[in-house]
């Protein structure tokens, strides 16, 4: 390499090389010291790449400000003392091998807790359905149909009060979780895209940062302020639909359900599309700039070879840290989403089970009411799942396409 460039043309290479060294100094004193360290070593002597990598990682870590993320984590998991940097470091060094086991344990614990907590609710529903059946049959003995109708309404009201209260609690829980999710994304973004900028370049960092900001805004407006109230209305419509013997509102309920699932699907498709398209373009621009820079540096006579090697190591470390932050963010996202998703799935199954159990004894309106509430929970699962997938996909695309 060194021999390939004639000595008299060497001065041509100095301005870009100086610029590169300046850039390395600028983007963290790290690389600067690494470059100096490398420059000191005489050609032929082996450069301590591992040491450089460790040093780079430590220095890079000191550049990031994780305090906001840590604050948000403290709010999220108050019982666990977890620092974001530790999580990233653990993931980078590959210590996540028993994660699957932990996740299984967590899921089982959660399901057990939900079952214990909701067992009473299930029993109430069954009892109310059975009492309604008994009362209705008992009052059918009279010529007067009015009393059987009114006693049915009384019990139906008790049932829907219970269902709606449970649903409202679940709904406010979901709202809280989504807000937490968005808050976490908001504090994760600056650190993550700083890492992307260091590892890959400013254009992709900027472009993806814009996408994520747009995504957070869209999720807040569309999902939190629009879709969740629609789920509320859907449940109400379904419950009212079964109050009367005839189905007056079933079409409206179906329309609302279709609307919700279409909006979610469209949102996911759009986000995937935008991400993939940006993922094709922006990293390529950065790669072009970077390769021009590194090639230039590598062709500096005398120290070019060492700089090329060291640059690779430094960039590799930056990519590693960027991916570590991305994966840690994804893991925390999954942890935030997992609890409500499990909860809602459990509730869906429980209400379906209750509907199945009361169907033989009870009026078909009561069965319909219980099973429609379970569909409402299913919609909540869809909403929170889609929101989680939106952010996970974005992080995944950014992580993969900027490496």
């Amino acid at each position: 390499m060194r021999g390939a460039i004639p000595k008299r043309k060497a001065w041509l290479w100095w301005p870009p090389a100086l610029f590169f060294v300046f850039l390395l100094f600028f983007s963290g004193h790290v690389s600067g010291s690494a470059a100096v360290h490398a420059a000191d070593s005489s050609p032929g002597q082996k450069v301590d790449y591992e040491g450089i990598q460790n040093e780079t990682e430590n220095k890079l870590f000191s550049e990031f400000d994780f305090s906001e993320i840590d604050d948000s984590l403290k709010k999220l998991f108050p019982d666990k003392k977890m620092s974001f940097q530790e999580l990233v470091a653990a993931l980078i060094s590959g210590k996540g091998d028993n994660a699957g086991k932990l996740a299984m344990q967590f899921i089982l614990d959660r399901l057990g807790y939900e079952f214990k907590y909701n067992k009473q609710n299930l029993a109430y529903m069954l009892l109310i359905a059975i009492i309604a059946a008994v009362f209705t049959n008992f009052s059918n003995a009279f010529q007067n149909r009015q009393v059987s109708e009114i006693s049915f309404y009384v019990l139906y009201m008790l049932l829907i009060t219970m269902c709606l209260n449970a649903f409202r609690i679940a709904m406010s829980g979901i709202e809280g979780k989504l807000t937490v999710l968005l808050d976490f994304m908001r504090v994760l973004c600056p650190s993550y895209f700083l890492a992307v900028a260091i590892a890959s370049g400013t254009s992709s960092s900027l472009m993806f940062y814009n996408i994520v900001l747009f995504l957070i805004y869209a999720a807040e407006v569309l999902i939190l302020k629009f879709l969740l109230p629609i789920v509320n209305i859907y449940i109400m419509v379904q419950v009212m639909n079964y109050l009367a013997g005839e189905e007056y509102l079933s079409q409206l309920g179906e329309l609302l359900k279709k609307l919700i699932s279409w909006i979610l699907r469209t949102l996911i498709t759009c986000v995937i599309g935008i991400n993939v398209i940006q993922g094709m373009l922006a990293p390529a621009i950065d790669a072009l700039k970077r390769s021009a820079l590194t090639k230039t540096a590598a062709s500096i006579p005398g120290i070019g070879n060492a700089i090329g090697g060291v640059t690779d190591v430094v960039l590799g470390a930056a990519v590693l840290i960027k991916n570590g932050i991305g994966v840690a963010g994804a893991v925390i996202l999954i942890a935030i989403c997992a609890v409500p998703i499990l909860q809602m799935l459990f509730m869906t199954m429980m209400y379906k089970l209750a509907a199945a159990l009361v169907q033989p004894v009870s009026d078909k309106r009561i069965t319909g009411c219980i099973s429609s509430v379970s569909e409402g929970y299913e919609l909540l699962v869809k909403v929170i799942f889609s929101t989680g997938v939106l952010f996970l996909l974005t992080i995944a695309v950014v992580t993969v396409s900027t490496s």
Binding site: F135, F142, N144, Q146, V154, I235
Partner: protein, 128 residues
Amino acid sequence: MSIIQIGVIGVIGALLSIQFKSGKSEYGIYMSVGISILIFACIVDKLELFVKTVAQVNQFINIDTSYIKTMLKMIGITYIAEFSSSVCKDAGYQTIAVQIEIFSKLTILALGMPVLLALLETIREFLA
């Protein structure tokens, strides 16, 4: 009392009141009223068992017991109304019978009003 005894009492009462139908028909009506009240008294024992069962079921679920009370009350109102209106019909006074039925229906409706209000309140709270 078992259903056989009740049946026997009812049939004997009906046969006896046929005897009075040709001459003094009002005695037949008095007799049928008396026997109806007797049978009603026999059922009241059983009704108590029913109310007790409902109270027991109430203990399983700590829902607002006033609704269950309301429902029992409605059943009682319907029972009494049907009883008295059929006695009136027997005596040949359709108008009074219909009035009793209408009164009972309106009473049940009035009892059901808090239920309707609670239902509306639930919906309002949920959508608020």
